[in-house]
């Protein structure tokens, strides 16, 4: 199905139409909105790191003081609720910001650099990852973004860097502890070059050695460089030598070079085209992004421009299926949720969001692994996946019917414009109840695609 540029701009490169916001008309609007997005303060900030730190410190204090189980449990609950709230804040931000393309890029990078928790302790700083490691770096160079990601405590914990010790470092010699190569491997395999690139086990080892010393200062809940863990000497990676006197800068140098590696350009160019346009992207489109990446040494605004300026970016509508988080976000836009109303709902709304995403099998802050969530339509539109979407559409339809006098046909037209198919228009109009008509619009293939 072919749709107008404006419809593709809003749905393919944004989170869809919001009845009370102006929509981009084409690639120029998308690019213009990026700078404005970077300058705009967050509508829905997450808990600042200092506040989290206090709550974590309080938990430790209670434990040390052998406080009652109830007090410890209450403090844990407070932290858990903070995370649920932050998750909802992050979704509201994406949904209600007028700069949809920027927010979609936040979504892309959050998934590309997926962080999760393998145990309760690791979860503490995950909500902090997006606002501090990603958002400030999305319009700079990929090298700076990569360094910020690799130095964020959530990533350092999730991929076990905090446990890695150079065998010949002071701590290694004293304790017999050694390397943990998890982060090094995923940096090469997932974050930069891609698994089919020409790196070897020796390169993984080399990078693991170079990364020793990177860790988390537990008191500050911040990145720290620990001399006593750093493996002394030089490290060979991809045919070159790095290292010297222990310092965080050696790994930074390598990561910045890696960010400009042609394999990194190829890997991420393809991922961008897959994420935004089609599960099987146009090779010319991928090549265009890749060439731009190399020519501009990983300068991200140039890369985004290459993504949206190519004609393949404006091809037939509906080649992608929205993942559940994106479905929920575009639903919040379609029902014209306003920021004040979102704030008013408070914890009730937060819990509802968390639950909906669990049921749709894409829970917040819990990616299936460091590779992030699957992209392919077939991974999501399974019988069980579709059942979850129907259930969700039904619940939203009922809420909406209770709360407004919205005409389902008008609802479908407003949120889909020229992407609305005749069969959907027919089914929505034929629904016996208003809530069911609204639900059918939300369950339609074109609302679930982009």
């Amino acid at each position: 199905m072919t749709v107008s540029r404006a419809t593709n701009a809003a749905i393919r490169f944004g989170y869809g139409f919001h009845p009370d916001q102006s929509a981009p008309r084409g690639p120029e609007d998308l690019l213009l909105s990026l700078d404005r997005a970077a300058a705009a303060p967050l509508l829905f900030p997450v808990t600042p790191r200092a506040e989290r730190r206090e709550h974590v410190a309080e938990l430790f204090r209670l434990r040390r003081a052998k406080a009652s189980q109830d007090d410890v449990r209450a403090q844990r609950k407070k932290l858990r609720q903070m995370t649920i709230r932050d998750g909802a804040q992050s979704l509201y931000q994406r949904a209600l910001s007028p700069h949809g393309f920027f927010e979609r890029l936040v979504g892309f990078w959050t998934d590309h650099f997926a962080v999760g928790a393998k145990n309760a302790g690791q979860g503490v700083l995950i909500p902090d990852f997006e606002p501090t490691a990603l958002r400030p770096h999305l319009l700079g160079s990929f090298g700076d973004l990569l360094v910020a990601v690799v130095q964020h405590p959530a990533m350092l914990s999730y991929l076990d860097q905090v446990e890695s010790v150079g065998p010949n470092s002071r701590m290694g010699k004293r304790t017999g502890k050694g390397l943990n190569e998890n982060l090094a491997r995923e940096v090469l395999e997932l974050h930069t070059m891609g698994v089919s690139a020409a790196y070897t086990q020796e390169d993984v080892r080399g990078l693991a050695g170079l990364l020793t010393g990177y860790g988390v200062d537990r008191r500050k809940l911040a990145f720290g460089f620990f001399d006593r863990r750093a493996e002394p000497g030089s490290h060979r990676i991809l045919g070159r030598t790095y290292g010297g006197r222990p310092s965080k800068t050696h790994a930074e140098t390598f990561l910045r070079e890696l960010a400009e590696h042609p394999d990194t350009a190829r890997h991420i160019a393809r991922k961008l085209a897959v994420h935004f346009v089609a599960d099987t992207p146009d090779p010319g489109h991928v090549a265009h992004i890749e060439r731009t990446w190399v020519r501009n040494r990983g300068n991200l605004p140039a890369v985004y421009q290459a993504l949206v300026e190519h004609q393949a970016a404006w091809g037939p509508f509906g080649q992608k299926v929205k993942r559940p988080q994106d479905l929920l976000i575009s639903t919040l836009r379609a029902i014209a949720l306003m920021p004040d109303r979102a704030r008013e709902m408070g914890m009730r709304g937060n819990l509802r969001i968390a639950k909906a995403l669990r049921n749709l099998n894409q829970p917040l802050y819990r990616p299936p692994g460091p590779q992030g969530w699957p992209e392919e339509a077939e991974a999501w539109i399974t019988p069980q996946g579709l059942a979850g979407r129907l259930e969700f559409a039904g619940q939203v339809g009922q809420l909406l019917a209770k709360r407004s006098a919205l005409d389902p046909r008008r609802f479908a037209e407003t949120m889909l414009r020229d992407a609305l198919r005749p069969s959907t228009a027919f089914a929505v109009g034929a629904a016996p109840d208003r809530w069911e008509g609204l639900a059918l619009a939300l369950a339609s293939p074109e609302f679930n695609r982009r």
Partner: protein, 384 residues
Amino acid sequence: MTLSRRAFLGTACSAAASPLVTPMVFAATPGENRLVVIVLRGGLDGLGAVQPYGDRDFTALRPGLATRPGDGLSDLDGFFGLADPFRGLLPLWQAGELGFVHAISTPYRDKRSHFDGQDLLENGGGATDGSLTRTRDGWLNRAVGLIPGARAETAMAVGREHMLLLEGAAPALSWSPTNALALEDDDRQLLTALYSGDPLFSEALAEAAALADDKAETRRESGATLARYTAERLNADARIAAFSLGGWDTHRRQANAIRNPAKQLTEALTTLKQDLGRNWNRTAVIAITEFGRTARENGSGGTDHGTGGLMVVSGGAVQGGRVFGDWPGLSERDLYQNRDLMPTDDLRRWAAWPLAAMFGLDRATLERTVFPGVDLGREPGLIL
């Protein structure tokens, strides 16, 4: 939330009212044998689960993780012992309904990526770099396509997770026991109209409508929940089922980290036995993983991605009470790249023999189509 009577999202009405529900009466199902494949995602540490305590090099490699009989380890055969978190499986072992195949792996080597490793494990191809066969489908799907009389109801992927293992040209169903979806006639017609012209959505709807019932009791996919639903399908028309259990990527503090996944696997197997009842005698379960883990423990009390691994076999139809496989030893020169347990056999061979024994697939087909390039070798005596 309470839903109205017309709840197409509903939890209240019965799916039996829908004409989309195919009557589950079939003259011919392909025999009475049953196979369950469990994919253990993340890389099960075979050396940690079934510990070669009789190998003189073992303790030195794993000073913090090795255990001994009398100290948490349950002796199996004088050489191997079952680690404490798996203790709940001992009754199956004692009944001869549990066995292991040690030091095996897929042909995947050296990059040790979970994602490529799992893809190859499910695809069944033979490329050491993990690239998939041209068909990019799952080996279990190809096998189903070769079983005479197999139909969509014969094979079932259970759980919300997408499984390459059963993807492909042959018909197979997929459903999660945590979904509730009940359709009344009117709703079904509207949804059918809504999804007309979009094959991906309309096929998923047809399948969902046929599988759903109003018994979604839980929202959590635990080993026991998945096994309970699997047993239910296997007691009805399904003969082949697959599901995944995660959590095996134990990079740190493995002694603790392994407890939950071990519990899930234990509950999955014991639930299958209990719920399959008499059918358990005609059932084989194989649990496979993308790779083993490093022979040495790492600096964090865990293990990193390795090569040679472990397969778990269970069921009334298996010749249990044995640890199969050629033991390579653990001295420095025995290890793969001085790092991992040396794989001495192709995992695919061990997955292929149950298909031969239970569904009559012949050697040439298995070696050519299901697991391209595998050498089936001698019959290993895995199935009774």
